[in-house]
């Protein structure tokens, strides 16, 4: 035993506990660290002290849970000692000698612990190769973990220095190098020599017998499993190129060992098959949902188109209540589509509800967040709004509306034409002519040019010039709407100059020329013209013609409340009081009650009583109609006929006709 007296102040209770391949091993107590340590003699095998110190310095820096911690380096009496942590427990060699057997699960856990320690060593710079892995150098700690000890022959820094080999555990190449030490440089060893030793060690642990030169892997399969046996067989391949390339790869192979089992593979393949089927079902379902939504979208679009078509038909037929219903249904179905809004704006305009049309465009269209206001169709709606402003005589707003629609994209020559007309009515004749020239540049046809010129002349009260241009337009155009507008404008011009007979004449011509579908406004104006002529001339033939025209409107389903009201007035004027009352009854059924209805009833009742002898007269019914009319009349709407009715009621009362 060497003289330890020079280190007695630091190490106490030094006692020999064994002798390994590297040298004698002593156990001692480190007084400063207060832990038991091991002093292990290092055989220098011709190495210099400096080389040995360098090697120990490297080991001191190693820290891994499955490696002992090297604390120090000592030189005593010419021998070198490493001081490292004392590992309690037994070596696997001792356990094998005691006849212990290990399960595959235990072996896998320990093998993976050992491989993680080896991976740590092999990835140092330079790589540290243990090169003496065997059951005797593997400790099993009381915690059930392994610890790789004995680094005596692991001092492998230059790829050539090797201190020995252990039969049954060392790789063939390690054996060859060790046996031919004098022929250094012929062959080198690397990390794969440790891989071989791990395989051989665990072969021994699993089977209880050393592997020797060739292992019995059938026996190993019986002791463990085919998968485990395959891993060991690969690790202990004689050809190092077919072994695992690194400790990490063997670590991973052992981690997947269960997955290599036949039953496990069957289970996972079944699982993958079912998973794939279910994912396929999901994919198909997603496609079906997508198709469903697409179909729903198509159905919605079809329903919307049908509603808009019906809305347009009802509008063209003057069925504005039905049109309104279609409009509400259409926007409920597709509030983001513009067409129903356009049709409704047209319907309001055609009903001469100009202010309502303007408000509709301002609030329901321009402030509608669901609509794409850059859609060129919005420009068409803007055109209707501009026309509504025009009809109300609000030319400034009409001009603003036109200018706005041109920013959206309403680049139609007809829009520029009407813009020019509006400018003319607003008094800006110079700009009107410029815009008209621009419209001609955009391709405005001759008929439209005549119409615009007519309107511009009309705005300047140039009667003859305007009538001439409208006449040229009527002759030139094939567009029935434009033709109707030209006739109506001519009539309006005559109206401005109080030429009632001319109004009737031009409207009768329009009635003969235009197709029935374009006659709505012509007929309405013609009826009014007949009433006015009847009133001024006293000729009942005009009233009779107006009755016929009103009936024509009704048969075309174009009749409105005004139509029935006018019809009642006409019958009354013709002395046909029963027919007049029948018209009012129809009006009441179709449009409900209002003060005008009872006012009209009251006037008819007055006429009816006037036809009787004084003694037979009874104004009770007249009074009833009067009271109803007064109850419904709000007074805000100044109605001259109501004032007349009140006067007549007062006269009846004063005459004592009411008891």
């Amino acid at each position: 035993m060497p003289d330890f007296s020079q280190i007695a102040s630091t190490y106490t209770g030094i006692q020999k506990i064994g002798e390994g391949s590297g040298g004698i091993v002593y156990k001692a107590y480190h007084e400063r660290l207060k832990i038991p340590v091991v002093l292990k003699e290092v055989k220098h095998m011709g190495k210099t002290l400096a080389t040995s110190r360098q090697e120990v310095d490297i080991l001191k820096n190693l820290k891994h849970p499955y490696l002992p911690q090297v604390y120090d380096f000592l030189e005593l009496d010419g021998s070198i000692y490493t001081v490292m942590s004392f590992i309690p427990g037994k070596s696997f060699q001792t356990l094998l000698d005691e006849g212990q057997h290990f399960s595959q699960a235990e072996l896998i856990i320990w093998a993976r612990q050992l491989l993680s320690a080896l991976h740590y060593l092999h990835t140092q710079t330079p790589p540290i190769i243990h090169s003496d892995i065997k059951p005797a150098n593997l400790m099993l700690t009381p915690q059930g973990n392994i610890c790789l000890i004995d680094f005596n022959i692991s001092f492998f820094l230059d790829g050539k220095t090797l201190l020995g080999y252990t039969h049954g555990y060392s790789s063939p190449e390690q054996k060859r190098v060790a046996m031919s030490r004098e022929h250094k440089g012929v062959e080198t060893i690397d990390v794969k020599t440790d891989i071989y030793s791990v395989g051989a060690t665990f072969y021994h642990l699993a089977t209880g017998t050393k592997m020797g030169d060739a292992g019995d892997f059938a026996l190993l399969s019986q002791c463990t499993s085919e998968a485990f046996s395959r891993v060991i067989e690969k690790a202990t391949s004689k050809n190092k190129n077919t072994r695992y390339a690194s400790a990490l790869k063997m670590f991973a192979a052992l981690g997947n060992i269960r997955k290599q089992d036949q039953r496990y593979r069957h289970l996972t393949s079944q699982h993958h098959f079912i998973q794939t089927m279910l994912v396929l079902v999901m994919a198909v379902s997603i496609v079906v949902v997508g198709y469903g939504f697409h179909s729903l979208q198509l159905e919605r679009t079809q329903s919307y188109n049908l509603l808009v078509e019906s809305q347009m038909t009802n509008r063209e037929n003057g069925q504005y209540d039905a049109e309104n219903t279609n409009y509400l249904q259409a926007i409920a179905l597709k509030p983001e589509s513009i067409e129903a809004y356009y049709q409704h704006a047209c319907a309001l305009y055609e009903q001469e509800k100009y202010q309502e049309c303007i408000d509709f465009v301002n609030y329901d269209v321009n402030q509608n967040e669901k609509l794409d206001l850059t859609n060129p169709r919005v420009a068409d709606i803007g055109y209707i709004q501009a026309n509504s402003y025009f009809e109300l005589g609000d030319y400034e707003h009409a001009i603003t509306a036109y200018e706005k629609l041109f920013t959206i994209g309403g680049f139609y020559a007809s829009y520029y034409r009407d813009y020019a007309i509006t400018l003319a009515y607003a008094g800006n004749l110079e700009k009107a002519n410029d815009v008209l020239a621009q419209a001609i540049d955009y391709g405005l046809t001759d008929d439209s040019v005549y119409f615009a010129k007519g309107e511009i002349s009309a705005s300047q009260n140039m009667r003859d010039d305007a009538l001439k241009n409208f006449e040229l337009c009527i002759e030139e155009t094939e567009d029935t709407d434009l033709k109707a507008r030209a006739y109506l404008m001519s009539a309006k011009l005559y109206e401005r100059f109080n030429e009632n007979a001319k109004i009737r004449e031009i409207l009768l011509e329009a009635k003969d020329v235009l197709p029935m579908s374009s006659q709505l406004m012509i007929l309405q104006k013609l009826i009014q013209a007949d009433i006015d002529l009847g009133d001024t001339t006293g000729q009942t033939s005009y009233y009779e013609e107006a009755v016929t025209l009103s009936e024509s409107l009704i048969s075309q389903k174009w009749a409105t409340r005004t139509t029935y009201n006018n019809l009642a007035i006409l019958h009354q004027k013709l002395g046909q009081l029963d027919e007049a009352e029948a018209s009012l009854e129809t009006m009441k059924d179709l449009y409900g009650e209002d003060y005008n209805l009872y006012k009209r009833y009251a006037f008819i009742e007055l006429d009816r009583q006037a036809l009787k002898e004084n003694l037979e007269r009874d104004y009770a019914q007249f009074a009833a109609y009067y009271e109803k009319a007064m109850a419904l009349y709000d007074g805000n709407n100044e109605d001259a006929e109501m004032a007349l009715l009140q006067t007549q009621y007062a006269q009846v009362q004063e005459g004592g006709w009411l008891s």
Partner: protein, 43 residues
């Protein structure tokens, strides 16, 4: 009920069933896997 709505309902039912199926299959697989690993360890 429109054809599109029928497709949407069938598709949604299919998606829900496949999600449910994946859940059940995963749970069953894990149970079988644990049982097999235990069996393999016992061996």
């Amino acid at each position: 009920m429109s054809l599109g709505m029928i497709f949407v309902i069938i598709g949604i039912v299919g998606i829900l069933l496949s999600i449910l199926g994946l859940g059940i299959e995963s749970a069953l697989f894990r149970r079988r896997q644990r049982r097999l690993i235990k069996e393999m360890e016992d061996e």
